[in-house]
């Protein structure tokens, strides 16, 4: 028993644990989701985060020890944001043809998501640094952290809000779209990418290739527009 505890202490202090646990749990969650026919509630990111968070809390492992290994995966978010440029470049023909529709929808949707989050947050009496972390939550986590830093929010909280927003969209959007009678895969995908960034886009890609392509476009467009406009907009407030 004592040896087991010692082994655990050794493993949890090494970066290997965080890296192996993240990849291992994610692969299992993705397999389980595929086996179940990929229903929205079986989102692999959601279950991986829940399982790992429960594991860390139950074993008393500090987040810093986990992150020592997980940072190798986290680091790839930076180049992944740069890679969104390729998504935009690939879809430049569609982007040019529907420039007005995509541009206005991305701006209106992004402004509605950020504005409603800030107003609702203030109305519910949340502290200022939490409200500032809510503003960029429709943007992909690494960009959201960068924006939050620049507008006085807590970057780590902004990242968590962004991931939660992505999960809420990925899990609940199909029902909302059905209720609103929005049937076009392109429109559903674009809305998911705009309001729920990469996690929503990953979900859209599972459902329909057309939805996935528009979600990828919207997600990249939103990251770019929000990162360029939010710091400027909030300077005036």
């Amino acid at each position: 028993m004592n040896e087991l505890v010692e082994l655990w202490l050794y493993l949890s202090a090494s970066p290997l644990f965080g890296l192996a646990a993240t990849l291992g749990v994610y692969v299992l969650a993705a397999l389980a989701s595929a086996r179940l026919g990929q229903p929205p509630w079986a989102n692999p990111v959601l279950w991986t985060v829940l399982v790992l968070a429960a594991l860390l809390v139950a074993s008393g492992t500090p987040y810093a020890a986990y992150f020592a290994g997980a940072q190798f995966i986290h680091f790839l978010l930076g180049p992944a944001v740069v890679a969104l440029g390729w998504l935009l470049w690939q879809r430049r023909a569609a982007l040019r043809r529907q420039a007005l529709a995509f541009g206005v929808a991305a701006l209106a949707g992004g402004a509605a998501a950020a504005g409603s989050a800030v107003l609702l947050g203030q109305a519910m009496g949340l502290p200022v640094e939490i409200v500032a972390a809510l503003a960029p939550k429709s943007v992909t986590a690494p960009v959201a952290m960068g924006i939050a830093e620049r507008i006085g929010g807590v970057p780590a909280l902004a990242a968590v809000f962004a991931v939660l927003t992505g999960l809420i969209g990925a899990v609940t959007a199909p029902y909302l779209f059905d209720a609103l009678r929005i049937t076009s895969p392109a429109v559903r995908g674009f809305a998911l990418g705009t309001a729920s960034h990469g996690i929503g886009a990953a979900r859209a890609l599972q459902v329909h290739p057309d939805a996935g392509a528009h979600a990828g476009l919207a997600f990249a467009l939103q990251a770019l527009l929000a990162a360029l406009l939010l710091p400027l907009a909030l300077r005036w407030l």
Binding site: V45, A80, G85, L88, W89, A114, T165, T172, A223, L224
Partner: protein, 139 residues
């Protein structure tokens, strides 16, 4: 041309029907592409620091990448690296998501309000985007 090494020629063209493994010493396209992505990010970070622009470094890197693609530079390697990275994008959010355990006190104190704000604002964002796009999209 006879003088061109057929193996090198196929590597430069991006593989073709039967992609050959790059010969020893030749970097694989995805690896070269990853170096380019990191280079764009680094240049973006430096640009943000040096100029005091209010925009995150990776986003400036994104714009630089579009610049490279528009100039017709290294499209093959960039495409190879981007495909690999974006195919497993959702995995990259896991470490940040697990970070929720460091804010359990804030979640416990404001949990209900936060859940309400996150749910409502996400639905508002989804609905506004979908309805505006549906109205404006050309057939």
């Amino acid at each position: 041309m006879d003088g061109v090494d057929p193996l090198l020629g196929r590597v430069l063209e991006g593989g073709g029907v039967n992609p050959v493994p790059p010969r020893p010493g030749t970097p694989a396209p995805a690896l070269a592409g990853l170096a380019l992505l990191l280079g764009c990010q680094l240049a973006g970070e430096l640009l943000a620091r040096a100029t005091g622009l209010p925009w995150p470094g990776p986003v400036l890197g994104l714009l630089l990448l579009i610049g490279l693609l528009a100039a017709g530079l290294w499209q093959g390697p960039i495409a190879a690296a981007c495909e690999v990275l974006l195919a497993h994008l959702s995995l990259l959010f896991v470490p940040v998501g697990v970070g929720v355990i460091t804010h359990l006190d804030a979640v416990a104190r404001h949990g209900l309000a936060l859940a309400g704000v996150l749910l409502l604002s996400t639905w508002i964002g989804l609905a506004v985007t979908a309805l505006v796009l549906k109205a404006l999209l050309k057939p």
